[in-house]
C-alpha cells in the first residue's frame, strides 16, 4: 500500500485519508454495494497510488504565473 499519508503538501494526510475513504464509499454506492472486500482494497490502493502520484508533482517547482497547457478551443496546442 503506498504511503500517501506522509506529507501531502496541499491537503495533508488527514485529507488524503478522507479522500480515500470517501472514494470507497462513493464506489460502493455507485456499484450498488456490489464491491467485494478484495475490490474495495484494490480501489483503496489505486486511489492511494493516484494521490501519491499527485503528491510527487508537488516536488516540481511552479510559479504563480505558470499556466496550464492545452486549453482546448482557446490556444490549441500552444505551449
Amino acid at each position: 500500500v503506498p504511503q500517501v499519508n506522509a506529507g501531502y503538501p496541499a491537503l495533508g494526510g488527514d485529507a488524503v485519508d478522507a479522500i480515500v475513504d470517501a472514494t470507497v464509499r462513493v464506489a460502493a454506492q455507485r456499484l450498488s454495494g456490489d464491491l467485494s472486500v478484495a475490490e474495495t482494497e484494490r480501489l483503496r490502493d489505486r486511489t492511494g497510488q493516484m494521490l501519491a502520484a499527485a503528491e510527487r508533482l508537488h516536488a516540481y517547482p511552479l510559479s504563480n504565473a505558470d499556466e496550464p497547457a492545452f486549453v482546448l478551443g482557446l490556444s490549441g496546442i500552444s505551449a
Binding site: 496541499a10 502520484a53 508533482l57 511552479l62 490549441g76 505551449a79
Partner: protein
C-alpha cells in the same frame, strides 16, 4: 478493368504498400472492386479468427469501391488512397454501422453520422472495409488482460499465441495480417505506437490537433489523437495527408493543412538524437536491433546522445488521464456501467479518480506546459529522437500483463511525446525473442511529421527494418 487473378494467385497483394496497389489500380491490373473483394476475403478468413474484426462493412465497401472504379475509369483520380480499402478502429463512427467502442455495454451503439476522419478518407477515395477491434473503451477504464474487449483478445498475426497489443489491437492486427493495407487507430498514451511495434507495422501518432477527432470516442480531450497504421512509414505519410485537415467541429483541430508528398523526400543528412540508455533493461534482441539501426542511421546522418528533460512524466500522464477519463465517462461510471466491462480491474479503476482534487489536475497541466516547451525545444534540434518503441516483445494472448514491465520503458520517450503533443512513428526494427517483431520509435518536434517520416523511411530502405509477413 482486367479480371482478377484467382485468389490463391493474389496472396502477394496482401502485404503490398499503398503506392504499389495504387499503381496496379491505375494500370488496370486489378480493379477497386476486385481489390476490395480480395481484402474482404482476407478480413473474413485471416483477420476474423484473430478477433481483429468487429464488423466487416461489405455493403459500404463494395459501394465505395464501385464508385472508385467508375471514377478511375473516367479519369477522375482522388490521389494515392483512391480505391484502397481500409479499416477504422471501432471507436470511430461510421453512419449506420455499429460503433461499439469494443465494449459490451455499447455493442448496439449506432451513430447517424460519419466521423470526420471517415469523411476525409471517403473524399480521398478510400474504401471503408471494416470496423476493427479495440480494447474496450480504448483501454480507458483500465485493463491488464488482452481479452478486455467484447470481441475477445486480438491475436498477433506474427504469432497468434501472442497479443497484438492495445488499445489499437485491430488496426495493428489487420495490417500485420495483410487483411487491409492500412487502418486508422487512436492513441491517448501509446495505443498506436505500441501495437505497431508488437505486430511489425508502422504506426504514426501525429501532432496533437492534426487529425480531427469529431466522431471518435473521447477518452481524454487533451491527449487523444487519431493516426494511421500501415506497412511503411511512407504509407503513413500518404494517409496522414488525406486525414489531416482543419475541422471547426473539433476544438483541438489545427488551422493549417499538412502536405506529405514532395518531389524529393530526404534520405540523408539526418540529425538524430539518441536517448541515452534507451535500450537499458530491454530484451537483449531489442537492444541489439536498436544498436544495429543506430549503425544504419549513422551512415545517413549524425547521431548525438541526449538526455530527456527531467520531468515527472508518468505522474503527469496519470493524473491527466484519471481526471479526463473520469469526466468523459462520469455518467457511465456513476451508474455502475463499468460492471458490464470485461476487464476485472475496469470495475473500479476509474472510480479512483472520482474525488481527485481539481488543483492536482491543473497542476499536472501546468507542469505539462513546461514538458511541452522543453521537449519541443530539444526535438527541434533534430530530425528525430530515437529509442526502442518498447523494451519487450509481445506478451501472451491469454496472459495478464503489466505494461510497466522492467525495461518496457527505460526512458520516457513515449510519455514525453504523449504530453508534448508531438509526433512519433514506430517502424519495424527486426525480430526479437521467439521471432516476434521489435520496433524503433522516431519522435519529432510538433508539426514536423515529415522529418520523422523521412528518417524512418530512410531506415526502412537501408534494411534496418524487418517487416514480418506470416499470414
Amino acid at each position: 478493368m482486367t479480371s482478377a487473378p484467382a485468389a490463391d494467385e493474389q496472396d502477394d497483394l496482401a502485404f503490398r504498400a499503398i503506392g504499389e496497389l495504387g499503381t496496379m489500380l491505375r494500370v488496370r491490373e486489378i480493379s477497386p472492386v476486385e481489390l476490395t473483394r480480395y481484402f474482404l476475403r482476407r478480413l473474413d478468413e485471416v483477420a476474423r479468427p484473430l478477433n481483429a474484426v468487429v464488423t466487416i462493412t461489405e455493403d459500404v465497401a463494395l459501394r465505395e469501391a464501385a464508385l472508385a472504379e467508375a471514377e478511375l475509369m473516367r479519369g477522375v483520380d482522388r490521389g494515392p488512397l483512391h480505391g484502397i480499402p481500409y479499416g477504422a478502429k471501432d471507436i470511430i463512427a461510421a453512419a449506420g454501422i455499429p460503433t461499439t467502442w469494443g465494449a459490451a455495454p455499447f455493442a448496439e451503439q449506432v451513430f447517424g453520422y460519419d466521423a470526420t476522419v471517415v469523411r476525409r478518407l471517403r473524399d480521398a477515395g478510400a474504401v471503408l472495409a471494416a470496423k476493427v477491434a479495440t480494447v474496450e473503451i480504448a483501454g480507458g477504464m483500465g485493463y491488464n488482460n488482452p481479452d478486455a474487449s467484447f470481441t475477445g483478445p486480438t491475436g498477433n498475426p506474427v504469432n497468434p499465441r501472442t497479443w497484438a497489443g492495445g488499445s489499437s489491437s485491430g488496426p495493428a492486427a489487420v495490417v500485420a495480417a495483410g487483411a487491409l493495407p492500412f487502418a486508422i487507430g487512436s492513441d491517448t498514451s501509446g495505443s498506436i505506437v505500441l501495437p505497431a511495434a508488437w505486430t511489425g507495422t508502422a504506426g504514426l501518432r501525429p501532432t496533437y490537433g492534426r487529425v480531427s477527432r469529431r466522431g471518435a470516442m473521447t477518452l481524454c480531450w487533451t491527449l487523444d489523437r487519431l493516426g494511421p497504421l500501415c506497412h511503411t512509414a511512407h504509407d503513413c505519410g500518404l494517409v496522414l495527408e488525406a486525414i489531416a485537415w482543419p475541422d471547426p467541429e473539433d476544438p483541438s483541430s489545427l488551422s493549417g493543412t499538412y502536405r506529405y508528398r514532395r518531389s524529393a523526400p530526404r534520405r540523408e543528412g539526418f540529425r538524430i538524437g539518441v536517448v541515452a540508455g534507451a535500450a537499458e533493461g530491454a530484451e537483449p534482441e531489442i537492444a541489439a536491433n536498436f544498436e544495429q539501426s543506430l549503425g544504419y542511421l549513422a551512415e545517413i546522418g549524425t547521431l548525438r546522445e541526449i538526455d530527456l528533460p527531467d520531468f515527472p512524466y508518468s505522474e503527469v500522464q496519470e493524473i491527466i488521464s484519471a481526471a479526463e477519463a473520469y469526466a468523459a465517462f462520469d455518467e457511465f461510471i456513476a451508474r455502475g456501467g463499468t460492471t458490464g466491462l470485461t476487464a476485472p480491474m475496469a470495475k473500479t479503476h476509474r472510480l479512483a479518480g472520482a474525488l481527485l482534487p481539481a488543483h492536482d489536475y491543473i497542476r499536472s497541466q501546468r507542469i505539462r506546459r513546461h514538458i511541452a516547451h522543453a521537449f519541443d525545444e530539444l526535438a527541434s534540434q533534430f530530425d528525430a529522437i530515437v529509442a526502442p518503441t518498447i523494451g519487450t516483445t509481445a506478451s501472451g494472448r491469454y496472459d495478464d500483463f503489466e505494461y510497466m514491465l522492467p525495461g518496457a520503458f527505460s526512458r520516457p520517450l513515449n510519455y514525453a511525446g504523449v504530453l508534448a503533443g508531438s509526433p512519433t512513428i514506430s517502424v519495424p526494427n527486426g525480430l526479437g525473442r521467439n521471432g516476434l517483431p521489435t520496433g524503433i520509435a522516431f519522435a519529432g518536434a510538433r508539426m514536423r511529421e515529415n522529418a520523422i517520416l523521412d528518417a524512418a523511411s530512410a531506415l526502412e530502405e537501408r534494411g534496418g527494418a524487418a517487416w514480418p509477413h506470416t499470414c
